[in-house]
């Protein structure tokens, strides 16, 4: 029982750190209506950049910032491939993702992983500052919550601004956005850049919390992100305000991690995890179609005109 609690504790902490990635996926998938596969690469990119900088003796907090910047760059590349060179959305993401695999390897000096054993990370630093009673999961959780709250606050503000509103309009109805004088190409690039910056930041945080960066750590990021977004949507609905929607996305990520911890505990082999996730996401994405086939919608006569 204690083991279960412990694994749930660390699942929650991991869920919040991965939740920052989920916020990035939310921006592209829900706001821009763009399934961006770059995130598989930019998540590992964030981890790689942060880990190598720490190994080079940089400040771990500063390495997070640089990791964020590297993610922005990855997003710009995908955005330019799609908007300026007219490559289809999914394909531009795949191209960036594949390219990033090689780039990440070379960032890590050709090695598939970098261990941060004995190095200072934001987590060890926080643990040193805090009284002895705090365990590792608690520290990870607190840092994750601080980062996500700050990011959600910034996103809430940003998507309420003139530019933010135009990004939302671009995702919702590109035609309208352009007819209203919006440079929709630029808005897409902006959304992709912001999204991948957050994903890379999340990758950097995860790498620092687990104590290593791995070139394969980003595999399946998009699917996990989608799973979290959908779980959040199913649990909290979509008729809530923007801040709550973002909270629901991070909560979705936490719940996803708890589910994974539980099924692993029940006896699912960890090598089957990605298959399990894919099945969950496929089921969740098909809910609207299945619903429309088998459930008759309720008609509200009073509202009909």
């Amino acid at each position: 029982m204690e083991g279960l609690l412990l694994s749930i504790n660390s699942a929650i902490a991991q869920g919040v750190l991965w939740g920052i990635m989920t916020l990035g996926v939310y921006i592209t998938y829900k706001i821009l209506d763009y399934a961006d596969l770059t995130v598989d690469g930019s998540f590992a990119l964030g981890g790689a950049v942060s880990a190598i900088l720490i190994m080079m003796g940089w400040d771990p907090l500063l390495s997070l910032f640089i990791a964020f910047l590297s993610g922005l760059l990855a997003g710009v590349v995908t955005g330019v491939l799609h908007t300026k060179l007219k490559i289809p959305a999914i394909l531009s993401g795949i191209l960036s993702m594949i390219a990033l695999y090689s780039i990440n390897l070379s960032i890590m000096g050709g090695k598939a992983n970098i261990a941060l054993i004995g190095m200072e990370t934001v987590f060890t630093r926080a643990q040193d500052l805090l009284p002895a009673g705090f365990d590792k999961a608690m520290v990870s959780l607190s840092i994750g919550v601080i980062f996500s709250l700050a990011i959600m606050g910034i996103l809430y503000w940003f998507f309420g601004t003139e530019i933010g509103a135009l990004i939302r309009a671009t995702g919702n109805n590109e035609n309208m956005a352009r007819a209203m004088g919006g440079n929709t190409d630029r808005m897409k690039i902006l959304g992709l850049l912001l999204s991948n910056g957050l994903v890379a930041l999340s990758g950097a945080l995860v790498a620092q919390s687990q104590g290593y960066a791995d070139v394969g750590m980003g595999t399946g990021t998009i699917v996990m992100g989608l799973a979290a977004v959908i779980i959040g949507e199913v649990l909290f609905g979509t008729r809530i305000n923007y801040f709550l929607r973002m909270t629901s996305v991070v909560t979705g990520s936490v719940i996803y991690r708890i589910i994974i911890a539980l099924v692993l505990r029940i006896g699912l082999k960890s090598s089957n995890l990605k298959l399990f996730t894919a099945i969950i996401v496929a089921m969740a994405l098909s809910i609207p179609e299945i619903k429309s086939k088998f459930v008759k919608p309720k008609i509200n006569l009073e509202k009909a005109e």
């Binding site: 509103a165 309009a169 109805n173 035609n175 309208m176 956005a177 352009r178 007819a179 209203m180």
Partner: protein, 258 residues
């Protein structure tokens, strides 16, 4: 106001489906003109509007708007001068955004967008006033998602959005064609009201010959990418549907079906 010189548009160049949609078209529209455009399917009416709006680039020719050459200007930039309402009510508004957010985006057409708040308090009052003109009760539904509105309501909102920042030219591309007759009349009357009140220069494509005669001060008939008939003033006022049908008869029988 609008000067179009030798405009030519060819689709699918170099393929078996090559199609000359506009041929050396010349058009000059004065400030304050309300021009209706009729013509059969494939006459090039919508293409003409889309080229003016910058959706397509012409193969040849020039477009001047208020003296400025806009031939090569990208769509989003010339949007600063143009108000547009499309045939499809879904196209002119963002369904998942609130009415007030849609209007706020429209209110910033042609302006630099920055990081200040997307909707200001003063705007909300202004929008409420403007929505009252529509007479649809939308002024009390500022925070409703546009997706909740009916096609007619959305089209009326789109019309308001296109004109809330006074455009140099208003382009209406069969904007009532997808509505039921009663709603279509209402939206057309609203169009007339807004155009007159703001003294807007307007181009309106329509399939309905009665509407083409009833509204505006000038009528243009297009056929196979050319302007084949152009009347204004008294002559237009005295025009009858039968006259138009006769004209059409000499060009194409397909128009009768429209």
């Amino acid at each position: 106001m609008l000067k179009i010189r030798n405009l030519t548009k060819v689709f699918n160049i170099g393929t078996i489906n090559e199609q000359r949609v506009l041929c050396n078209l010349n058009l000059h529209i004065c400030e304050g003109d309300f021009v209706t455009i009729i013509g059969g399917n494939g006459a090039g009416k919508s293409t003409l509007l889309n080229i003016i709006a910058g959706v397509y680039m012409p193969e040849e020719g020039e477009i001047f708007l208020a003296g400025e050459d806009i031939t090569k200007m990208p769509e989003y930039k010339r949007a600063a001068f143009l108000g547009r309402v499309f045939q499809d009510p879904l196209m002119g508004t963002a369904a998942d955004m609130e009415i007030v957010e849609n209007l706020a985006i429209a209110n910033r057409r042609g302006k630099r967008r920055g990081l200040s708040w997307g909707v200001t308090k003063e705007e909300k009052t202004k929008f409420q006033e403007s929505l009252k003109i529509l007479g649809l009760g939308l002024e009390n539904r500022l925070n409703d998602k546009v997706g909740l509105l009916s096609g007619g309501q959305r089209q009326a909102l789109a019309l308001l959005m296109a004109t809330i920042q006074k455009p140099k030219l208003l382009l209406l591309d069969e904007h009532t064609a997808a509505l039921d007759p009663k709603t279509a009349i209402k939206v057309l009357e609203l169009t007339q009201e807004i155009v007159e009140k703001n003294k807007l220069t307007t181009l309106m494509v329509t399939h309905n010959m009665k509407d083409a005669i009833k509204y505006g001060n000038r009528l243009i008939m297009m056929n196979k990418g050319e302007i084949v008939y152009d009347v204004s003033g008294e002559e237009k006022k005295n025009l009858k549907v039968t006259d138009l049908l006769e004209k059409f008869g000499s060009f194409s029988d397909r128009m009768l079906l429209a």
